[in-house]
Symmetry: C2
Subunit: 462 residues, 2 copies
């Protein structure tokens, strides 16, 4: 019977004389004159099967010299060893070489730097660390879908190619089918965008939020979960040109609802990982970030803190710390301030609410003080800002005045104003950078190491 | 107590004297001197609440004249009417206008054409048809994740921006940050791609398949689910420039496994929709495609058919039909042939296997006859090809010879060959066009009507 390594380590019990077959890749191999051992992975779980082979196997010699990553099929029986470090092993009756591997396999047993492994994005998921990270990435994505669907959120695929610039946030990538060597020109010599595929200039989206709002006003609760792009020439460990965002949006909901949903979602993701990826989390805790499980346990179990921006400024000004950027009311907080609040003051995730309106986006709802907006950021240890959200300005006249004040092209935002014109509705939403969340739940410190094929300035390999 | 319309229609029973509050949008309103009725939607489900208001409400006059889509809060009690068409109604004690709507609301009660509604992608999800379609889109996406995760597939976000052209399939969109009005040039006068963001030419992905294969060789079972792009100037009802694909990939798996997983996945999606979107399916069956539920029931309950390409050619040649494109062995089947097979011959989904190698992609595994490859397409009624898959060529030497034969740049595919060099492993996968699947499960005939904001030549609005 063909089984997987995952089944091998499941509750299923295999009888002493039950013949099973595993197909997998050789991770390590060692052999003496009488007996040899192969660690076998088939990808189905983090654990590997320990294969014991006696020297009377006809191809024993060849097996002990197998290059790492050779593909083999092992037939044998399961022997339980509850006293040993390994709870079970496979006593091989036959081992067949199913696919060769060359001797120059670049991932030999020794530890490689993350930098080196980034140059082989096609092979690094075979290492323990990246196996753990990318399995957690998958599970976290599913947990997010599951939580939101269970709360009756409707998943909306907002467009990747867009002719608007969302919130004027950040630089964008142009998308074009024009022949760059031979650009069509208008009479006055400009590039003729009307000749482009979409008959106008188009870009890659920086956020799905504006596009998803209309759906909240039809379905009440909706969310996006898709790729977004920033053409910023940042060479930091926290910025990538291509990353995924989750953007839930809710009608008949205010800032308090954002806080409830954001905290609920984050706790659910952590719980889901505890239930489905404990082997991976333990490995990362042992090898990457020794505070990982402690931090996540706290995230799951303790209520998050909550203060206003104004209270936060007060705390920062009273702090006995020399911040690089001095603190004043009106400042757009830097990572150092955000981390001080979450790591030193609260030692857990903290929501900051009611930011100065001048440092926040045009669509955020102005508070009665006319100085702040109903915005909220979630700051977490090690990362800083993880989630940003707000109540949206639903008052048609207030929003129109704001668009005018900021000199934004009114006709381009008419559809967005229509949402207020035809059923002014209290509504709110938030955005989560998926990779930041992954850094938080894996302990990895570079965004390039939580993305299968990272895109950063000068790097679009594979 | 605040409740949603979904809760109202759930198993929960509300006592005669229990006061509840609903927030929602006015869908229709009518009133006589003594009594008036409002159909209220809050987006939480397809159903609407029937609000009964007596003329003694202080703002009764105003309420009967409310423009469609006004936002109101209704407080009252639930009255069950099991004998009536409507199983329950709300007897209003007070109704508050929470947000205005203008009188020129473009979605008045009369039926609009799909073409007209496409011009208002921000409002059309409020109509019954598009509410149904986009809720089904969300549920189908989640069902796909749930099925694959339950089968231990790991979700991988393959890159959107890519420097390879995957399989040389179709025209691509260029992604650039170069200043189009002032392009940098190399010494010989060409556009200097080295000055671009990624220091080379990059494009939007046409498929995640090649990029996901390395992950199958680490995790055994993996899948992508993300946007893909084709810059084809097609103006048909079945082509969009931006669409979503699901691409599962499995190690230690052959063509038979593809067929099992593809059929299992499709049946699961249909079952999930039957369990979670019966109101929506019934509406679409009544208003869009009268055979929808019958077709889906059959899809769920009957095993799919399976024949070889060669057998299919034989059937087509014997058919008493004047095909526009004549049939011969070696032909890349047209939609008319595919639909004849699934609609006339088998009257249900049918897998075609073992296509001529010359009409299939370079990475498909060559069969022993050296004429065909281990490929499979799933043809379904109304749509034609819905799924395409294959066993991948895992033999390093055969694949390298193929790349050479097709004059593809060997150095660009070295990483792909590495997957064979370091652990030649039998593996297979398939791709599903998500929008084609949605057309199949909704009965909608134009791909523009199953995408929130469709992108087609000349159209990138919103």
């Amino acid at each position: 019977m063909d089984i997987t390594v995952k089944q091998l380590f499941s509750d299923q019990h295999f009888a002493e004389d039950e013949q099973i077959t595993l197909h997998g890749w050789v991770k390590t191999v060692r052999g003496s004159k009488r007996v040899g051992f192969i660690e076998l992975s088939d990808g189905s779980c983090f654990k590997r099967a320990q294969i014991v082979m006696q020297s009377d196997l006809p191809n024993y010699e060849e097996l002990t010299k197998l290059p790492i990553s050779s593909t083999i099929g092992v037939t044998g029986t399961v022997v339980y060893t509850p006293e040993a470090k390994q709870p079970l092993e496979i006593h091989a009756e036959s081992i067949e070489l199913e696919g060769h591997s060359d001797n120059d396999y670049p991932l030999q047993k020794k530890k490689h730097t993350y930098e080196y492994l980034r140059t082989m994005a096609h092979l690094r998921p075979r290492t323990n660390t990246f196996y753990a990270v990318f399995r957690i990435r998958s599970l976290a994505a599913f947990a997010i879908h599951q939580y939101l669907q269970s709360e009756d959120f409707v998943y909306v695929n907002t467009p990747i190619i867009t002719s608007s610039d969302a919130e004027g946030a950040g630089e964008m990538f142009r998308v074009t089918t024009l022949d760059m060597e031979n650009l069509p020109r208008t009479e006055d010599g400009k590039v003729d965008d009307h000749e482009d595929f979409f008959k106008k200039e188009t870009n890659l989206t920086v956020s799905g939020q504006l596009a998803v709002e209309p759906f909240a006003l039809a379905f009440k609760n909706v969310y996006t979960f898709g790729p977004t792009f920033r053409a910023e020439n940042s060479h930091t460990s926290r910025h990538a040109a291509e990353f995924w965002m989750i953007e839930p949006e809710m009608a008949f909901a205010d800032l308090k609802d954002v806080i409830v949903e954001a905290e609920g979602l984050l706790k659910y993701v952590v719980s889901y990982l505890f239930d489905h990826a404990m082997d991976e989390l333990q490995f990362l805790n042992d090898n990457v970030d020794e505070h990982l499980i402690e931090r996540l346990t706290k995230t799951r179990e303790e209520p998050f803190a909550q203060i206003t921006y104004t209270e936060a400024i007060d705390l920062l000004q009273k702090a006995d710390v020399d911040f690089e950027v001095p603190v004043y009311w009106g400042l757009d907080l830097e990572s150092e301030h955000e981390r001080y609040l979450s790591e030193q003051v609260f030692k857990k995730p903290v929501f900051l609410t009611d930011y100065p309106k001048d440092i926040k986006a045009f669509y955020m709802r102005v508070n009665d003080d006319d100085k702040t907006v109903a915005a909220v950021d979630l700051l977490v240890p090690e990362i800083g800002e993880l989630i940003g959200g707000s109540q949206r300005e639903e008052r048609e006249d207030v929003l129109a005045a704001k668009i005018k004040e900021l000199d934004m092209p009114m006709e381009e935002y008419q559809w967005y104003l229509d949402l207020r014109k035809y059923g002014e509705t209290e509504h709110s939403g938030f955005g989560i950078g998926f990779e930041r969340l992954l850094m938080y739940v894996t302990g990895m410190e570079n965004i390039r190491d939580v993305i299968p094929y990272p895109r950063t300035p000068g790097n679009a390999e594979f």
